[in-house]
């Protein structure tokens, strides 16, 4: 059990970091494209910086923790389904 918990949490932590990096990168690319195609006026860097600040304090970023929570819930559900149903 300890072995599963340790390795499981390591894997989930890596997945969390990877998804975080990916999500940030996609968000930044979206902002860049939006400025290039639609806005085109004002300071491009400031617009992107503001967008990234909004992302950092936003709800979507917090949803990434589901990458860790959902697998743990699945293990719990499986444990119940296999042994007590």
């Amino acid at each position: 059990m300890i072995r599963l918990a340790v390795f499981g949490l390591i894997v989930l932590a890596v997945a969390y970091v990877l998804v975080s990096i990916y999500s940030r990168s996609v968000r930044r690319e979206k902002l860049e494209k939006k400025w290039d195609n639609e806005i085109k006026t004002g300071d491009r860097d400031a617009y992107i910086a503001q967008g990234m600040r909004d992302y950092d304090t936003g709800f979507r970023k917090k949803l990434i923790i589901l990458v860790v929570i959902v697998p743990i819930l699945i293990v719990g559900g499986l444990l119940y389904a296999v042994n007590f149903m």
Binding site: M1, R3, L4, L18, V19, I21, Y22, S25, V26, R28, E29, V75, L78, L79, V82, N83, F84
Partner: protein, 216 residues
Amino acid sequence: MRYVKWTFWIILLTFLFSFFHYTLPQHDIVRVVRVYEERQDFDWTGIFWANPDDQSTGLTNRDVQFIQTIRSNGKPMVYRNEDTGWRWPPYFKFDTANLQTEASDAISDKDAPEWYSMTHYGWRNELLSIFPNAVAIKPVAGPDARIIPWVNIVILATLAIILFMLWRMWVQFRERSIDPVLEDIDEASGAARDRARGVWGRFVGWLDTWKGKPRR
């Protein structure tokens, strides 16, 4: 080179298929005949049996519970009934004693057969004396009952989504972090470009050799 490539892919695919075939749950329609318990000595085929904690400290034999059945096609199938616990494969099965009770309650004879769906994973191999591990037993209408493998569908779909996401992440990383650097190098110097391109280009060329394209 072509034969090396084919051998590599065939070995990889065979390994992956065997892994999933062994690990994912399957269903047999069976009639339970008898349940029993037998002392087992383990050699290298121990990898096909459960591995309880007390065995890792030098225990080389122990009692294992078995379930004898006749499948709906008339052939015999014997299952072992062991806890997987917190270990691999991740079935989190702790109810071996309960399952053995259910199985012994399900015993029926030829004249009045009662059919059950036995969920299990693993392989039966007579030469190695290995048995699939029973996970659950449920009554079904008859010997022709069809079971839709929802669990396998969900697991394989989830794995496909994870692989797709990893691929998206790699593409994004290459687009945003590797390509701009290469472009900078391109702009910096024509002579350096050929060299810098060379590293990436050689790598891409090497990748292409896997697809059977001639090396650039």
